[in-house]
């Protein structure tokens, strides 16, 4: 028979999926638990990009995709999008965040103090190769400070505003359930503020970094200073239909404020995301800082960076070029050949 039987295509895709999954073997609850315990920062990154806070599902997605991050995020997003929305949590202010780490590059010291918290920033990046020879790499015990820093800290920008160095954004009193949701409505431009912040929160870390870095290197107008970087836990306060407000738990969040001098005042760029992801927050906040008045088509223009840091869309489109395109190619060939034939000199009719 001339044409490949349809079953052929179906069998091929079935077997190719099996080949991929064979490399990972059985996925068990134990595997998922190990992934979760071993890679909290990877889990955080995936949860942030998926905009779904569930460590177990994120670990499952990573286990199931063998750590193909774009696939893991897509699987989580596809799961998330079908879930009913039971409640919208109350907005949370910065000084209500249970703070683990909070640093400012703008001042040597800040009200509330510099709280280093957990970081590899000052570690020497040396691989513990002994582990491969059977040794255990056991972390040294943490020694508590004599005087613990407060879990709740004001924002640095609030202090700057008090000192007339910076204008804080006008408080937005939109009811939580009325806040535009970019997963439920299209992103249009000029973008609603909520959509911008949500898109940055969901952005692909590498994409946000690439464009943010371009802005930092000089393709943006503003040089960022990290006013405040914070890793914290946020209380999810929801209201039961009977009117009682209660906490549904805490989620890890990270946020960055970056500032730049504009005339006599500082301009503020902001980004926050689910999970702890410092690179993404600083990059995204830098894009936010640079976006006002950015030239159309530049890396720091809102439309440009919001579209191009969307990881599920960009990665999907990238891999779609693997799909056959022979119809479109055939159509182009036809036009090319015809144009070429028109150009080549026609033989003169015999006299």
């Amino acid at each position: 028979m001339a044409y490949v039987a349809t079953r052929g295509g179906e069998r091929a895709i079935e077997q190719s999926e099996r080949l991929y999954r064979a490399a990972m073997g059985d996925i068990t609850e134990q595997r998922v638990d190990e992934v979760k315990a071993a890679m909290p920062y990877l889990i955080d990154r995936v949860m942030g990009e998926a905009s779904l806070y569930d460590e177990d599902l994120a670990a499952l997605a990573l286990a199931q995709t063998g750590g193909e991050l774009f696939e893991a995020v897509l699987a989580l997003r596809a799961w998330r999008t079908t879930q009913p929305r039971l409640q919208v949590a109350a907005p949370i202010a910065q000084d209500q965040l249970f703070t683990h780490r909070r640093i400012s590059a703008a001042f040597k010291d800040i009200p509330g103090g510099q709280v280093l918290g957990p970081t590899l920033d000052y570690s020497h990046r040396i691989l513990a190769t002994d582990v491969l020879n059977g040794a255990t790499y056991a972390p040294e015990k943490v020694e508590a400070a004599d005087k613990p820093s407060s879990a709740y800290q004001p924002s640095v920008a609030a202090w700057q505003a008090e000192n007339d160095l910076l204008d804080l954004p006008v408080p937005d009193d939109t009811k939580p359930e009325d806040i535009p949701d970019v997963t439920r409505e299209p992103l249009l431009f000029p973008s609603k503020r909520a959509h911008t912040l949500q898109s940055l929160a969901r952005s692909e870390t590498g994409g946000a970094l690439a464009l943010g870095y371009a802005a930092m290197r000089g393709y943006g107008q503003a040089h960022p200073t990290v006013n405040e970087l914070r890793l914290a836990e946020a209380e999810i306060a929801v209201t039961h239909p009977n009117g009682t407000t209660f906490s549904a738990g805490r989620v890890k969040v990270s946020q960055a404020e970056v500032v730049s001098k504009k005339g006599e005042k500082l301009e503020l760029g902001f980004a926050a995301t689910l999970g702890w992801n410092e690179v993404k927050c600083i990059s995204a906040a830098t894009l936010d800082l640079n976006s006002k008045g950015a030239e159309k088509g530049s890396a720091t223009e809102e439309e440009f960076y919001l579209y191009h840091t969307e990881g599920v869309e960009s990665s999907g489109f990238c891999i779609h070029f693997k799909l056959p395109h022979y119809v479109t190619f055939q159509s182009s060939l036809d036009a090319m050949r015809d144009a070429k034939a028109k150009k080549s000199p026609k033989p003169e009719p015999a006299q």
Partner: protein, 303 residues
Amino acid sequence: MSLSTLTKDWEPMSYGFLDPSAKREIRRKMLKAVAVPGCQMPYASREVPMARGWGTGGLQVSLTLINPETTVKVIDQGADDSVNAASIRRFLARVSGAPTTLDTLDADLIQSRHRIPEEKLREDQVLVLQVPNPEPLRPVQPNMSIARQMHADADYGRMWLQLYEQIVRSGRVMQGASYPSMVNGRHVMTPSPIPRWDVPKLHMAKHLTILSAGREKRIHAVPPFTRVEPLVFDDVPYKVEEHGDLTCVRSGAKGFFMNEIPQGDGSSTYEISDSEFGVKSIKQTEGTDTIFGETWYKNGEMS
């Protein structure tokens, strides 16, 4: 309002994968798309369990329209057996229980990437085209906001200029697939990357066509009996691919859009691009009783 009226018992998956709320949004936007033919309507475009760029826009429309009685056909580049067509067809059947078919005549809903079947679609059939890039103005204006303003102003001057420049430079319009077309005399749309051969099939057709771009979150439509006119100059007529005289090496059929198959000796052979139509043609050659639908093209000419 209480929680119980807004929610229901948890299910592992909604019927047709999309939750009722996602379907309602797509329904509302589909109505708007039909009401303003060729105009791109923004929609939220939920994530589905397939990668963006792989037919997620078409899929969301199909999932919204589907019910257990909908007979579905899925094609990619004209072929039912293309791997991604097989994947989408399997997914649609799996989440809806809908029957599937390869025969254009049996289908209620046809989701397609880059082709319109060679057999004429009927009034009761819906064609869903997957759209990678919904914006026909992108080659002249990559910025979506500016392009939207150009549509609002019916400002297609740069589009025309681009076509004109191609004619001056190459003696013809160089657009291959995705030929920009004026819909209902008002909106220029992309017909999706279908070959030029297929664009006239949309003009004053009996069926409804819905074009959906999942990644770019836009939906547009061509209702039945709607004018779809490729942008051309009066003195340079629209030209479909020169496939009218090509013969399918496998079935001997002639006068349809072909896949070119390069040969080792430097020549090419051709096979019918619409795979199931090709199968029917082969069956006919072999003497099997085959039911053909009326075709848009007769003897290689659009009728």
